[in-house]
């Protein structure tokens, strides 16, 4: 069956994927329609059909990305020194070592010359193969809006001549960070949806992880790729416990840890070790290390908060983002008490970069609540409420407001 498919696909890897897809499709179709008279033929036909689709997609891909420029190798004068830390052997350009089309496609879709939302849309469309309708649904925009976004991005690639290549060693760290940011964004977009109801959202989570695994298979030595995969697995391990049966949001301290996915946690923690070794850890490796600490703690109270505080400090140095500073303040409260953390949050409010970010007033509200400052807490919860449309989050915040304003 593989060979028959390979003959059509002209590529062993593609053929293997098509065969696997055929088995998955069989499980689904046969459980609904019953086993066909000739299961072997059904499977082979399905696999070959998928291979043909893949070929057609590839051809239309090259037609749709009108300027898939195969870059000329740089002339001698280009003289870029090979930066350390890349995976290329002996300073050769990476694309000479790994000429995989999927990798070139990913880097092209995530080029910094494209706006972040364009990078995400293009990656989902061209790398993950989602339809424009599916992507539109995932990001809660209309289909024409999403179609226009994808078209604009392709036109930019063509007009500005963004070359179809894996970046050279000098640019690789920044470019890879952009790719991983897109994958992470895909994951978090799927992750914040209420659990269970919207299949497209859960699908986004799975696709992000699958995309990460694919990139890892093509760039096995890149520590940040490993770090991100660890982060996604460790966070996703909590998927079953993020909301209760009625869809009510559960906090980390309320989640039933016995229902966390231990296989995902084992895989994640193993990956973290590898991602942290061999030099200064990157921001994804550090985020994964933080997630691993939570995953390994038998309970919220038994979490190693001082170690977490240290990790957040390292993360803030690697990634000076106000969101990281906020998360560190939350941990600070567990180590040094709510007042110290409130002072840090006040600084962040002054800073202004977190102006529309609901988790700042929400975190502040929580600390005020723990200090018994109920009026201020209610106000802060209200501020957070005005910043979110997510049903589960709104319900949670509304309940908190009721709790802190309830008469004694």
């Amino acid at each position: 069956m593989l060979a028959a498919t390979a003959r059509v696909a002209g590529d062993i890897d593609v053929a293997e994927e098509c065969v696997q897809d055929a088995y998955v499709a069989a499980l689904d179709a046969w459980s609904r329609q019953g086993v066909p008279r000739n299961p072997g033929a059904w499977l082979t036909t399905t696999a070959r059909r998928r291979a043909l689709d893949a070929l057609r997609r590839d051809r239309t891909l090259r037609a749709k990305l009108p300027l898939l420029i195969e870059p000329d190798p740089p002339q001698g004068g280009a003289g870029l020194p090979a930066a350390g830390g890349g995976s290329a052997a002996g300073g050769q350009a990476v694309d000479e070592v790994i000429p995989d089309d999927r990798l070139r496609l990913v880097f092209t879709c995530c080029h910094p010359a494209l706006a972040r939302e364009a990078q995400v849309a293009l990656t989902l469309r061209l790398v993950c193969g989602l339809t424009t309708a599916e992507i539109a649904q995932a990001f809660l925009v209309s289909e024409p809006t999403m179609a226009a976004r994808v078209t604009r991005a392709k036109k930019k690639i063509s007009a500005a001549r963004i070359a179809y290549r894996v970046p050279g060693a000098a640019e690789l760290p920044d470019r890879l960070d952009a790719v991983l940011t897109v994958v992470h964004l895909l994951y978090t977009t799927g992750h914040t949806a209420p659990g269970g109801e919207n299949l497209v959202r859960a699908d986004l989570v799975d696709r992000a992880i699958a995309l990460n695994r694919m990139i890892r298979s093509l760039m096995p030595d890149e520590r940040e790729v490993r770090g991100l995969l660890a982060l996604l697995l460790l966070t996703d391990a909590r998927r079953a416990t993020r909301a209760d049966a009625s869809g009510r949001l559960l906090l980390l301290e309320e989640q039933d840890r016995s229902r966390w996915d231990q296989d995902a946690i084992s895989e994640g923690t193993a990956l973290v070790a590898g991602a942290l070794r061999g030099g200064r850890p990157g921001r994804f490796a550090l985020q994964a290390a933080i997630a691993a600490l939570h995953a390994e703690a038998p309970s919220y109270a038994q979490t190693d908060w001082p170690q977490l505080l240290q990790l957040y400090g390292a993360l803030l140095r690697a990634w000076p983002s106000p969101v990281v500073a906020l998360n560190r303040a939350v941990v600070r409260a567990m180590v040094d008490g709510p007042e110290t953390a409130l002072a840090e949050m006040a600084e962040l409010e002054q800073d202004g970069r977190l102006a529309g970010y609901r988790y700042l007033p929400a975190a502040k509200a929580d600390l005020l609540r723990r200090l018994g400052r109920t009026t201020a807490a209610a106000q802060a919860y209200q501020d957070a409420l005005e910043l979110t449309d997510n049903t589960a989050e709104r319900d949670f915040l509304t309940r908190r407001i009721a709790e802190v304003t309830a008469p004694e």
């Binding site: 420029i69 740089p74 004068g77 010359a113 500005a160 963004i162 070359a163």
Partner: protein, 115 residues
């Protein structure tokens, strides 16, 4: 190779009443840049520094007005026309272009040849 324009946008205040040293530094930086374009495998086709926006005159619908077309914090101060293999190559070169009081924009030139 494709043509790209590098547009230099800078805060003009830095150059108002600037000392000769400021100008000297800028001149040397731009001369150095001109050499670097070729070293990086690109081609410098042309370019100029512009006089400040106080000298600009704009025309819209046949109406002539004093000043630049758009009042922006960083004003257009100069440009380079280069040839580069692709956008990454153009960006590699553009990053070397001196613009200490602002930044640069890189735009492909429209291909108006037939076909």
């Amino acid at each position: 190779m494709t043509e790209y324009v590098i547009l230099i946008y800078e805060n003009e205040d830095a150059y108002v009443n600037a000392s000769p040293e400021v100008w000297q530094t800028a001149m040397e930086a731009h001369n150095r840049f001109a050499g670097q374009v070729g070293e990086r495998g690109g081609k410098l086709v042309g370019g100029n520094a512009l006089q400040p926006t106080a000298t600009a005159t704009s025309i819209r619908d046949d109406v002539v007005t004093d000043g630049p077309f758009a009042e922006t914090k960083e004003a257009l101060g100069g440009f380079y026309l280069i040839e580069a293999r692709d956008l990454d190559h153009a960006l590699e070169i553009a990053k070397l272009c001196p613009a200490p009081y602002g930044g640069v924009e890189v735009r492909p030139v429209m291909d108006t040849s037939g076909g």
